[in-house]
């Protein structure tokens, strides 16, 4: 069966810490459809990062299967995983995770460069993305000249640059004030809807859950659907 978006089937991850075996993820199953924006909340140490790393092809699961756009990535070698990350996954990481010596436009184009040449069409697409995110005037600026909110908007544009099927956001509002946090998350939500991406946001910030279609709660490596989003 061909599924689009992200699907995890009974994924577990174990770490060996000394003589103990730590269960970071315990039989996690989730399915995120294109156009769906899902949040994963939970206390630190609950396994959110491990979950996101496995969904983003950064980490291999110990058990279970991970499908990205219908492709099972759980057993691919490292070399192909970097290719999957490049083509199928858009990462939005915490603020300041931009390359310091590239300007805003180049932040996007470097993604294209990783897979080969930059075409004029790529440039046009990058400019379009940046304009959509309100960064048209900031294209030649360097990260050090941008505010935290602007940096995060650049990160959103970068995640969309390769037109991936899946968007993964890792605490995208960690260093932002409430106003900017709302702005950034609403932009992600809008991009997910208009561009039909399957999106997962890991956060501990419960103010922002109203933008999401579903909220999952992670506790001790187990993922469960939370009650209707709590109002901030």
């Amino acid at each position: 069966m061909m599924t689009h978006g992200l699907e995890m089937q009974s994924v577990s991850k174990f770490y060996d810490a000394g003589s103990e075996r730590v269960t970071a993820l315990d039989r996690v199953s989730i399915r995120v459809e294109p156009g769906e924006f899902v949040a994963v909340v939970g206390p630190s140490g609950s396994g959110k990062t491990t979950f996101l790393s496995i969904a983003g092809a950064l980490l291999k699961p110990t058990e279970g299967a991970v499908f990205l756009n219908g492709k099972n990535i759980s057993a691919l070698p490292d070399k192909q995983l970097s290719d999957i990350r490049l083509r199928e996954v858009g990462f939005i990481m915490q603020a300041s995770n931009l390359v310091p010596y590239l300007n805003v436009l180049e932040q996007l184009l470097v993604v294209k460069r990783m897979s080969g040449k930059v075409t004029p069409a790529d440039k046009a697409f990058a400019a379009e993305l940046l304009a959509e995110l309100g960064l048209a005037e900031r294209m030649k600026r360097y990260p050090e000249e941008l505010s935290g909110g602007e940096k995060q908007r650049v990160a959103i544009a970068r995640a969309l640059m390769n037109d991936p099927g899946v968007i993964l956001a890792d605490e995208p509002t960690a260093s932002l004030d409430t106003k900017r946090a709302h702005e950034v998350v609403s932009l992600i939500a809008r991009a997910v809807k208009t561009r039909r991406k399957a999106a997962v946001m890991v956060t501990h910030d419960e103010r922002l859950l109203s933008y999401c279609d579903k909220v999952y709660r992670m506790e001790d490596g187990r993922l469960s659907l939370a009650d209707p989003a709590p109002v901030a």
């Binding site: 630190s44 990062t49 996101l52 790393s53 983003g56 950064l58 980490l59 070399k79 970097s82 290719d83 999957i84 990350r85 490049l86 083509r87 996954v89 990462f91 990481m93 915490q94 603020a95 300041s96 995770n97 931009l98 390359v99 310091p100 010596y101 590239l102 180049e106 470097v110 993604v111 460069r113 990783m114 897979s115 360097y142 970068r158 995640a159 390769n162 890792d170 605490e171 960690a174 260093s175 501990h204």
Partner: protein
């Protein structure tokens, strides 16, 4: 290349500082090699520029002109040995040239008096004036450096302690022996000057210091057997036998060797630290899909651009330095050596950059998902 250049442009100060260190290292390498070349030329250019393949010395002289004394009669017998195409005797003594007239203190000049047969293959090309002539036994050929001391063609001088008046017939280029100017003189006249003291010729007929041979297929052992009491070495070995030559060039090459080893470490550590500082960035780029090859190329091309530019600046500085060095300083740059040392330096930089590439490969993209809360 794209990332490499972007980063250099963005953090100019940092890269200029590393560049300066590379420039200084390459500058030092080139200066040392120029000095080494210059010294080696000063010590042995008369020997090095000679059109001879082998040198016959007295047995036990350890290829040193000063320790060797042979009879000139051997020359004829040497030409009969298979492989020997030509043979010609040679002698060297040191002395002071004293210019006639004026204050003798002022006009004393150390010279190496080289006795050769006029017209033989040992006579160097004349740069100015006339060559040696068997018919004019007191006419000599002097190294050009004597011009700087005020000597002109036709000037006369005597060797300190003798009465023979010698006339400069012409000048030759790049002829020094043991760091002092060579003066070529017909061997008959040389003998008169060298063995003026009774008994100093040890009773040999037509004494000379050594006999130079031409011939690519000479078998030194065959000569040693045919002519007992002789010792035949290649010209290169004879150069090594010049007193002080080995020690001098050895010192310079030792310094150069150490410099290369040290520069490998300095450059390697710099690039390593630079890469470690950026490990977070590399982690991010890996997380968004950059392959090791992409990042490795960025590191290597950055090192290449930086090293190449620095070495070129180093070469320019070296030629600039050579232009302002005092004339008496023995400094000689040879393009082939400059190119060779540039390539060695470039290779060292790139090799040490490979260590940095290894750390890039090891960086875990998971680093990008670190928490800052």
């Amino acid at each position: 290349m794209f990332l490499a250049l972007k980063e250099i442009r963005h953090s100019k100060t940092r890269f200029v500082m590393i560049g300066i260190i590379l420039v200084l290292i390459s500058w030092l390498v080139f200066i040392l090699s120029g000095l080494g070349n210059g010294l080696a030329a000063l010590a042995a250019s008369t020997f090095k520029n000679m059109d001879a393949d082998y040198v016959v010395f007295e047995k036990g002289s350890k290829a040193s002109m000063g320790k060797s004394l042979l009879s000139g009669e051997l020359t004829a017998r040497l030409t009969e040995i298979p492989g020997v195409e030509a043979a010609s005797p040679m002698g060297i003594i040191f002395g002071s040239a004293v210019r006639e007239s004026g204050d003798p203190e002022e006009f004393k000049l150390d010279i190496a008096l080289v006795g050769i047969e006029p017209g033989s293959f040992l006579e160097p090309d004349v740069a100015e004036g006339a060559g040696l002539d068997a018919g004019s036994p007191t006419h000599v050929l002097a190294n050009e450096s004597l011009k700087d001391e005020g000597f002109r063609i036709g000037d006369t001088f005597v060797l300190d302690g003798t009465t023979e008046e010698l006339t400069i017939a012409g000048f030759v280029r790049d002829q020094t022996y043991n760091h002092i100017a060579s003066v070529f003189i017909p061997i008959e006249t040389w003998r008169k000057l060298a063995f003026a003291a009774p008994g100093s010729d040890k009773g040999l007929k037509d004494p000379v210091n050594a006999i130079m041979l031409q011939g690519k297929d000479i078998d030194p052992n065959a000569i040693n057997e045919r002519l007992p009491g002789t010792e035949t070495v290649t010209r290169g070995q004879a150069v090594q036998g010049i007193s002080g030559y080995k020690e001098e060039t050895g010192t310079i090459f030792m310094m150069l060797g150490f410099l290369f080893v040290i520069s490998a470490f300095i450059v390697g550590v710099f690039f390593y630290v630079l890469t470690m500082q950026k490990s977070n960035q590399f982690g991010i780029m890996k997380a968004i899909g950059a392959k090791n090859g992409f990042l490795g190329k960025a590191v290597i091309s950055q090192v290449f651009v930086l090293s190449l530019a620095s070495i070129l600046v180093g070469i320019l500085l070296t030629y600039g330095t050579a232009a302002v060095l005092p004339k008496g300083m023995p400094f000689r740059l040879e393009t082939s050596w400059v190119i060779a040392y540039s390539l060695i330096l470039l290779a060292i930089s790139l090799a040490s950059a490979l260590i940095s590439v290894r750390t890039v490969v090891k960086i875990d993209p998971l680093k990008a998902l670190g928490r800052v809360e």
